[in-house]
């Protein structure tokens, strides 16, 4: 019999719950609120059968475009052939986690605003642009001992191990 390509085919390990984390899922997944425009990660929770996305979307990150009573609409990129389509799926909240992909950006925004406000108060001009890491500075090597190493001539008598 051939393999079959059903909806949940080849998801034996993907959708299984992790070791010693089976059973009731912690309440924080239900208590989180999402707003339109947030970035979320789609991670399937095999314990909840309703509102499961297709296995393709497991591990994808997308933006929220719709919020309903128990589910969230997420817009995810999918490559189909030679183009990338923005696909809109609806997923129950148990299969969604808030994404940290923009966390670093948001923190940097706050910090930069702060720095700019300070600089404006002092009257100086600063650039808050990130610079790539440059080449490492030069340094003098300290406390190096010079040790000359030469090969020793091959000694047949001693070096032959085993049967002689």
């Amino acid at each position: 019999m051939p393999a079959g390509h059903g909806l949940r085919s080849r998801t034996r390990d993907l959708f299984s719950r992790p070791f010693r984390k089976k059973g009731y899922i912690p309440l924080s997944t239900y208590l989180r609120t999402y707003k339109i425009g947030d970035y979320v990660d789609v991670k399937v929770n095999g314990a909840v059968h309703k509102g499961m996305p297709h296995k393709f979307y497991h591990g994808r990150t997308g933006r929220v475009w719709n919020i309903t009573k128990r589910a969230i609409g997420v817009e995810v990129n999918k490559q189909v052939g030679n183009r990338i389509i923005r696909k809109r799926i609806h997923v129950r909240v148990e299969h969604v986690q808030p994404s940290r992909c923009t966390e670093e950006f948001k923190l940097r925004k706050i910090k930069n605003d702060q720095l700019k406000a300070e600089a404006k108060a002092k009257g100086e001009v600063i650039s808050t642009k990130r610079q790539p890491e440059g080449p490492k500075p030069g340094f003098m090597v300290e406390g190096a001992m010079l040790e000359t190493v030469t090969p020793i001539p091959y000694d047949v008598v001693n070096d032959l191990k085993g049967g002689y």
């Binding site: 010693r20 984390k21 089976k22 059973g23 009731y24 912690p26 309440l27 924080s28 239900y30 208590l31 989180r32 609120t33 999402y34 707003k35 919020i67 309903t68 009573k69 128990r70 589910a71 969230i72 909240v93």
Partner: protein
């Protein structure tokens, strides 16, 4: 002893999944909790309040709680040990006391939210099924009953507290199936019987029976009632006065006790490595001294 195969091997413990802490303690039913606290996502941060009633051996706790990731927030709470303030000092865990506690909590919450004038609720407790009517200005305060782990049988005291909160003016979805006085045969709530329970009529009836048949048991069982001069006939008027007092001033009173500067310890403090080594050395010294003394005695 015969050779018994070890049941709980190392492999068993390695694979053992520990239940949630509050499940281990047997205090929280997570299946119910998930369903009670789950809020519609398109209502965003609107809190979903639950009317929590818990009974201990000598106290009743009624609270209005909203769930949070960091921890549940309590909007208002009422305990049956506050009832002495309103004139009720005995029988603090019976159906009537539960009604009073629910009533107290309901009036307290409405006063907190400045809705107590709009929603008077059912001033005269008749035992009939009463549901709050929404007025034009504001919708009534909605909460969901959370019983915890008790078995919901007809006439359970939890539903006494529920009735108290309903009569106070809270909007709690319910049915009259589990109130005291609901008969399974006629499938109807007998308001008279329910009213009897709300005013402690069942307690009064037992007092009368005991006075007739077993006066000594009556003396021992209802000693606190006798001490305060509460008899079977004035129980109903006592509760009426308590209801009126609760409606007059439901606000919570802060206790005058200052919080203790150092938190009370319930378990032993963990010793440091040095302390544990020192203890061991002391133990060995005493052991050697005792052994030395024994060997001297034997000699």
């Amino acid at each position: 002893m015969a050779f018994v195969k070890a049941q709980k091997t190392k492999a068993y413990f390695k694979r053992f999944q520990v239940p949630f802490k509050r499940r281990r303690e047997g205090k929280t039913d997570y299946r119910a909790r998930i369903r009670l606290t789950n809020q519609d996502k398109n209502k965003y941060n609107t809190p979903k309040y639950r009317f929590v009633v818990r009974f201990s051996n000598k106290d009743i706790t009624a609270q209005i709680i909203s769930a949070n990731i960091t921890g549940d927030m309590i909007l208002a709470s009422a305990y049956s040990h506050e009832l002495p303030r309103y004139g009720l000092e005995v029988g603090l865990t019976n159906y009537a006391a539960a009604y009073c506690t629910g009533l107290l909590l309901g009036r307290r919450v409405l006063k907190l939210l400045e809705m107590d004038d709009e929603y008077q609720g059912n001033v005269e407790a008749t035992g009939e099924d009463f549901s709050v009517e929404p007025t034009d200005t504001r919708r009534p305060f909605r909460a969901l009953l959370d019983v915890g782990l008790i078995r919901t049988t007809t006439g359970n005291n939890v539903f006494g507290a529920l009735k108290g909160a309903l009569d106070a003016g809270l909007d709690i979805p319910h049915s009259d199936k589990r109130f005291a006085g609901f008969s399974k045969d006629s499938k109807q709530l007998d308001a008279e019987v329910h009213r009897n329970y709300i005013y402690g009529g069942h307690v009064a009836a037992y007092m009368r029976i005991l006075m007739e048949d077993e006066p000594e048991k009556y003396q021992s069982h209802f000693s606190e009632y006798i001490k305060r001069g509460i008899e079977a006939d004035n129980i109903e008027s006592l509760y009426k006065k308590v209801h009126a007092a609760i409606r007059a001033d439901p606000s919570a009173k802060k206790s005058e006790k200052a919080p203790p500067k150092q938190h009370k310890r319930f378990n032993l403090k963990k010793l440091t490595y040095e302390e544990r080594k020192a203890k061991l050395i002391d133990r060995l010294h005493t052991l050697n001294a005792a052994a030395g003394a024994d060997s001297e005695d034997e000699d």
